[in-house]
Subunit: 142 residues, 2 copies
DNA sequence: CGATCGGATGTTATATCATAACATCTATCT
DNA sequence: AGATAGATGTTATGATATAACATCCGATCG
């Protein structure tokens, strides 16, 4: 599954591994925290590695969280869709080809040429929606 | 379904007017800059006004720009779609009912209960796409 | 009237996210 | 060796956002 076109540097590999292991979005400073003591001491290194990984399509940036997550299906795809549970923090990357086509159609209909399409849904995951019967649980948040 | 609108405070009105007049997204600090000398001297006031306006459905936050824009059709709508030109900075709020329904269907199909749906397209507007013939012009950005 | 309550604001300080600018190091190609 | 490209280190700063607490004011109610 790991289709890597360019070889990754040490730090880039380390960042990707950390994101994959986390299985949830991490902020650049979360990553920096985990990399201190491994020779990574400042934000630019982390941001540079993330930039590369995003370029390579291995990592997505989630705008509404200011955080990064390993791509669940690492192909280059210029559209990413995320469902973000505001209760437990679960983030799921969704794929829906028809949606992508419809979005592209909608944008081009207005003459817009989209190079990147971001869809982020906020709400409650199935588990949390089931649990939620009027009362609130321990809000996770980011 | 009675859409009860709360009266807006002085600052809230001022912020909404500034956003409407700008016709483009402004950051909270852009707004603060314009409000200094009118008794608004610190970020919290601006953020609080924006929070209220977003709650009322009069303003949208554009996540990928960290900026705010007046809603083009101020109804409460939990889905907002924006086409953002990376060249000239033009931001257009799009409406597409079928897309909204398809997104809702997709999310609920996976058991997710969406309360808010964000769609942000990055690329080039019709005018800039026409001008762009391989060469880059004066990248505007925000 | 006077109590009190909610909404808005002021104020200070700080947290969080991101980049500029410049120096260094190494691998690779010529 | 010289040149190039990519990655990293380092220092400093910019940009975005919130915490915590105090004050003010209009509406409501006993
Ligand atoms: Zn992906
Ligand atoms: Zn959940
Ligand atoms: Zn709107
Ligand atoms: Zn444009």
């Amino acid at each position: 599954m790991t289709v890597r076109r360019q070889p990754l540097s040490q730090t880039q590999t380390r960042v990707l591994d950390l994101l994959s292991a986390a299985g949830r979005p991490l902020s650049a400073y979360d990553l920096l925290g985990k990399l201190r003591g491994e020779g990574v001491n400042a934000p630019p290194t982390v941001y540079r590695a993330l930039e590369k990984l995003v370029r390579e399509g291995l990592v997505h940036r989630i705008e509404s969280l200011n955080a990064f997550v390993a791509c669940s299906t690492p192909h280059h795809h210029d559209m990413a869709t995320f469902a973000i549970c505001d209760q437990c923090g679960l983030v799921t990357e969704l794929t829906d080809r028809p949606l992508q086509e419809q979005l592209a159609a909608m944008s081009s209909r207005s003459g817009f040429h989209a190079t990147r399409m971001m869809v982020e849904l906020r709400g409650h995951c199935a588990a949390c929606a089931a649990k939620a019967h009027g009362h609130g649980a321990s809000d996770h948040a980011h």
